[in-house]
Amino acid sequence: MTAKSPNTGANRVAGKGRLSPAKTATFTYDGKSYNALEGDTLASALLANGIHLTGRSFKYHRPRGILGAGPEEPNALMDIARDKARRQPNVRATCQEVFDGMVAKSQNRFPSLEFDVGVVNDALGRFFPAGFYYKTFMWPQKAWDKLYEPIIRKAAGLGDSPDEADPDHYANQFAHCEYLIIGGGATGLMAAKTAAKSGKRIILVDENAEIGGGLLSDASVTIDGKSGSDWAAEILAELKSYDNVKVLSRTTAFGYYNHNMVTLAERVTEHMANPPAEMPRERLWQVRAGKVILATGAIERHLVFADNDRPGIMMASAAGVYLNQYGVTPGKNIAVYTSCDSAWTVAFDLKKAGINIPAIIDLRKDIDETLIKRAEDLGIRVLKHHGVVSTKGRLRVKSIDVEPVDGVSSETIDVDCLLMSGGWTPSIHLFSQSRGRVKFDEDAGIFLPDIYTENCVSIGACNGTFEMTAALNEALKSVEGKGKAPKVADAVSMSGFKIGAAKSAGPDDFTKAFVDFQNDVTAKDIRLAVREGFQSIEHVKRYTTNGMASDQGKMSNMHGLAIAAEMLDKPIPEVGLTTFRSPYTPVTFGALVGHNKGELFDVTRTTPMHECAVANGAVFEDVGNWKRAWYFPKAGEDMQAAINRECKMTREVAGIFDASTLGKIEVVGPDAVKFMNMMYTNPWDKLGVGRCRYGIMCREDGFIYDDGVVARLAEDRFHVTTTTGGAPRVLNMMEDYLQTEFPEWNVWLTSTSEQWAVIAVQGPKAREIIEPLVEDIDLSNEAMPHMSIREGKICGVPTRLMKVSFTGEAGFEINVPADYGREVWETISERGVPMGLTPYGTEAMHIMRAEKGFIIVGQDTDGTVTPQDAAVGWAIGKKKTDFVGIKGLNRPDLVAEGRRQLVGLKTIDGKVVLEEGAQVVDDPNHAIPVPMIGFVTSSYWSEVLGHSIAMALVENGHSRTGETVHIPMPDEVIKAEICSPIFYDPQGGKVNG
């Protein structure tokens, strides 16, 4: 190395790999600084620097090293940070690309990775078999959550959660295509190339930074006479020239949902040293595909033998990737332990790169002679039908003991690295997620796609087609391609496999032969589970936690299954395969949330007069997704003072209120009356044009669903108002009946909620204030009585002017086109405020309506209250033969004695304001449980009346007027008298001004 090019590690192999030595990046690992080449994964950079030790296991805290080179990695999980807030735990070092300035830390160790006190669990491992916690920690009873559980929780958990809000942003995109091709290896590329010419929309995704899959680490294969990586590069270049093809790298297809929706997580900036601020960190793609081509390949399995988990023991294919793709050797003296041909090729590649290979140990008796010949030619010792029976080395493997499979004579071989291969498991995760059915191929020891339920197809290794020419032909066929696949030569053989326990993994002594590395599940744990009666693979999985770690069993599932099957003496398919679920690899919450956070978490609805309220200093409350002015405090006023003033001024002079959030529906047509008669309990035939009526709507069950004032504009036209929250559901219910039960009725429904701004002007001076602003309407009591509507103009704009009152005062609700709402509000205010007109908010509105005993649906009713219960039974048309709720209302329990009925409550001490929600009882001294006869629905201080007021639902309340009831509070019992809920102006004269 020259001074100009920093040292990127002693284990770089000159002339190998695809990274440019010109570009480097510096990162720290556990506080120490290292150099990497641009394009390195954290794992390849660490290996280049001779580091295998990367973490501690979950339960035993055993030292662990880098095992793989992809998303199946169970061991090398790191805490990766850019800065304090941009930190993520449990990141796979094998997937995370190094960027300049990256801070990586190992996890789950104390005080350090090299010396972790938690390792005591390892020494005591025999006391912690699978499921031990179900059998212990039960005495004394109280000790579980106080003593034992905190210890267990502290030991578990791998990395540390982020502790600051995430400053990054994420994007979300929907896409459609005819072909979604998942996997950019040889078969995926072949399919994409073939389909591209059709002009159909194609999306090709691959989880790696570089497209090419296994071709990138295959030093020998040629396709069409080109090296595998060159062939891939050529196709990729060609694909990029098509407008109809989108290629997404660093993108993981993680979920397969109904009706061919596949979800992808694209890592956009996570590899960049200085991500541009405008770029999202990750992007969620939701792709609806015509056909999904699964070219997801296969994952190499490890071998299950004693102490198979020491740092320095890794997957053979991973070593091939590190050597051929990253130019890194994982050691200098590397033995290979395999049952599969492909590991031999890795041994050959390493040997050719100058690495010492002391032996290839193969479990098989019968091995392809050409492999043996090549090994001999390269001078590699071959131990046929042998197994590794133990390993030594605390923080890194130092030696292995080898024995014949059928023998006992042991030999020790010194190594600094051991590669292993138990063969390949097709990646059927997405196929399984699509709810396809799998079958077991006994000869190959693999589960394969069998019956498809979606329009998708598996090609290549994920379909069990390990032979490349055959795989490429599948690729051609999958996209209706013609012709023949290109000529393939010298492809790596992937035949040979071993599932389940290898020699030395038991049966049962004290050896730890790991099946699931991350969750520390050993072969003997699986056997114990079966012995204890856990017979289905679901039970074994849950009892041992095999396959439940953050790698979700990509390497361990098949071994666990095979060991369980062996114990049960049943064929593998009878023990079952656990269902794969989304996501294939873990997905950042932020990416799933996308833009829907902060202000965009939920729609904020504001009224046309919102800015007027802001200018008046309103405090807002959330009502559904509306922002409503709650009260208008003046300087020095608290909430109570403000609402006292608002109520008082409204009752004495006039108040102005923004009622725009009320739902509005226009019901029009020759059958409009008939329709209204059906929807509402009230009769509508006799409501004159220009008149209003309070309407109650039930569901068929007879409980109050909504209420509001309905105005008749013409024989065939109603202006219906609903509650603020009820607008959508009322319209939906009306549409439902109209479209599905009474489609022959001539009625049209239009939501006009957002077309009309509504300004309520209420109070003795209401008319005086608005009169000069109104044209074409006579506002006199005679011409326009209470509960009437007129059309005309106000402030020069069209209005539907309603003489209605929710306060008990004379007043108007002025509907104007929404765009004019603010202007009309301001004009009225300009004239009215000098006269004493006071803006009031929802709280004052609530008080004034309660003073009048008007209910609020959802507060004084709760979905279990009938119109009779709510003392609005008068609103039921007694002569009507049908309306929604007519039968429900008459069901036995709805007409029974003892129903809770709405009444007023007056506290004996008028200064005491009841709590809303407080329960009403007859006998406050009753032992718990105390029989409750009702509860307070609304309760306020009435400044105008000088005492508190409340409404309550009380059993048989309507016949108990004058009786005293009790409201028990935590520290006292409040007495109250049942009274009429109409506290203010019981004669009702004030509405006429």
Binding site: R437, D450, N732, T740, D882
Partner: protein
């Protein structure tokens, strides 16, 4: 997320445009006021909840606003067809049903022809 064909818009659209509206072909009795409690219970509360072919209502809420019906398999979640409100419950062919059946082994409770026979029994 399901893909739903709106028979009014004549388009296949994502589920988030639609609102599920429960079981279909439950007609509101014309004599509602005189209904027995038992019949009201049947009308308002009792549901087929079929494990197999379900007939259900959808509303294209964020689209044309129309209510329509669908025949769907409640294990595979695949639609056989959607059809306009007011159209009679369709007679499904064996072929149509078989096309939406989930693979038999993953749902042992499901037997292919069962739904058709049962349909005949009921009406």
């Amino acid at each position: 997320m399901l893909l739903i064909y709106c028979p009014y818009c004549e388009k296949e659209l994502p589920e988030i445009e639609f609102h599920g509206e429960g079981e279909a072909h439950i007609e509101r009795p014309a004599n509602m006021a005189d209904l027995s409690d038992e019949d009201f219970e049947k009308f308002f509360f009792i549901r087929e909840n079929e494990k197999g072919i379900v007939f259900e209502r959808w509303r294209h809420l964020h689209g044309c606003g129309r209510f329509f019906n669908a025949a769907r398999h409640s294990v595979s979640d695949k639609f056989i067809k959607t059809y306009k409100a007011g159209e009679p419950k369709p007679k499904l062919t064996k072929k149509e049903i078989e096309a939406v059946l989930p693979p038999a082994k993953s749902t042992p409770a499901n037997e292919p022809i069962w739904t058709i026979e049962k349909e005949g029994e009921k009406k």
